[in-house]
Amino acid sequence: MAVTLTTAQSIGILIAAAVTLMMYSFLYKDNLFYKFGEHLYVGISVGYLVNIEWYNVIKPMFIVPFFYQQNYILIFPTLLGLMMLMRFVRQVSWLSRTPMAFVIGVGSGLAIPAVLNASILEQLYSTIIQLWVSPVDTASPLWWWNTLSLWLIFLGVLAVLFYFYFSIEHKGIVGKLGTVGIWFIMISFGASFGYTVMARISLLIGRVQFLVYQVPDAFKFLLGIGP
């Protein structure tokens, strides 16, 4: 079903196009338009954050449970939160240490088993659990290629771990493995770079699509020659 543009939308689209071009003017050189846009963005983003903080955090997590559901125990974390804000008052900034310690302590305690399982044990398990694809068990004629790939992964993980291990000197077998590790890292960073270029260009494509597809429709609506 068609979506009809309203005046508010059309004006909005044109203003969005104007601020987009204002920000792009930085590519020529730093100028007043860019600075204006940058500071306006900062102010709007802070105003947005305060609204989200009120509607999605303070109201549902404290105001409603405390005043309407009589969950009075929540006064304690609220007091700790207010103590955190004392960080900017020099005379009593030490008050912010206890709530900060609470948050950091909880985070650290939760992180240890989580990271141990997800980032270390599971990864090591997958690296060593299968190093052979049997030609009998699999229907694929590429069993030899898949087996080579498994050994390549095993070698790669080992080599990279040795490269980052600085507690012993990189000589002999350790040095050679470290050198192999560098090659794997270069391949990975090359892939990351290729992907990074793709990501940045995608952001530009998004903006250009907005300027090319939506701005003409907005002009047409305001001039009375389109939907």
Binding site: A2, E38, I44, N51, M61, G105, I201
Partner: protein, 239 residues
């Protein structure tokens, strides 16, 4: 005073760290309830932490305005943007009304719909979103310029990096599939996309796994240092 300023926070970090670590390995109703309560408390405290950043930013611009440093006019713009967004959200809410149907004047049938915008959502969609999206899209130009000026195959490692980047850049777009109509192992995927997938799932994945394990070990070591009070930078400066 040292007890309150230093020792109590270190003790709190230790106690909470050990309790949350042990909680994972104790599968009981009490343990589960404890986790829920601590999580709720921590989220409320974390909510206040967001206000720290907001205060810091507004304070910085307030001082610029007060001292009338060069460029203080732009700090006025910051406050104008801030108050417009703040008042529009608090006064009229943050949810748009449902779209209203557009009727054919002749038959009265519904032929479309139109969006009704609140000031908050209007400013979000037509100021906040385009400005943030544009700021980050500027990086596209800089990455192209950086690639042209700095990406040199100075040695073997840099050459491997460059070649891998080129393979991935071609393999991840339709152009790569059109360029080389060679099908590895007689499969159905063209060479460049196939090679890109193989690189990402094998050598690149191996290196990333090694890095992930290293980062994981570092995270665990940092967490232990915090719990045992060796790492105290979170307390800030002062006595």
């Amino acid at each position: 005073m040292q007890l309150v300023k230093r020792h109590i926070p270190i003790a709190v970090a230790f106690v909470m760290g050990v309790l949350m670590f042990l909680q994972f390995y104790i599968p009981s109703r009490t343990s589960s309830n404890f986790l829920e309560d601590v999580t709720q408390w921590d989220r409320i405290i974390a909510g206040f932490a967001l206000l720290l950043g907001i205060y810091s930013l507004l304070n910085h611009h307030y001082h610029k305005l007060r001292r009338k440093v060069p460029g203080w006019g732009f700090s006025v713009v910051v406050y104008v943007g801030f108050f417009s967004m703040l008042i529009s959200g608090l006064a009229w809410g943050i949810i748009n009304r449902p779209p209203e149907p557009v009727l054919d004047p002749a038959t009265g049938a519904v032929i479309g719909s139109m969006e009704i915008y609140l000031p908050f959502m209007w400013m979000y969609q037509y100021l906040f979103v385009p400005m943030q999206a544009t700021m980050f899209s500027i990086l596209a130009f800089y990455i192209a310029s950086a690639a042209y000026r700095a990406f040199r195959a100075r040695n073997k490692e840099a050459t491997v990096l460059l070649l891998t980047a080129i393979i991935v850049m071609l393999g991840r777009v339709p152009l790569g599939a059109l360029l080389l109509k060679v099908y590895p192992f007689g499969g159905q995927v063209e060479l460049l996309p196939w090679l890109t997938e193989w690189i990402l799932n094998n050598p690149s994945m191996a290196a990333q796994r090694g890095i992930m394990i290293g980062i994981g070990l570092g995270a665990i070591s940092t967490s232990l240092r915090i719990i045992f009070g060796i790492e105290r930078t979170y307390m800030g400066g002062g006595d």
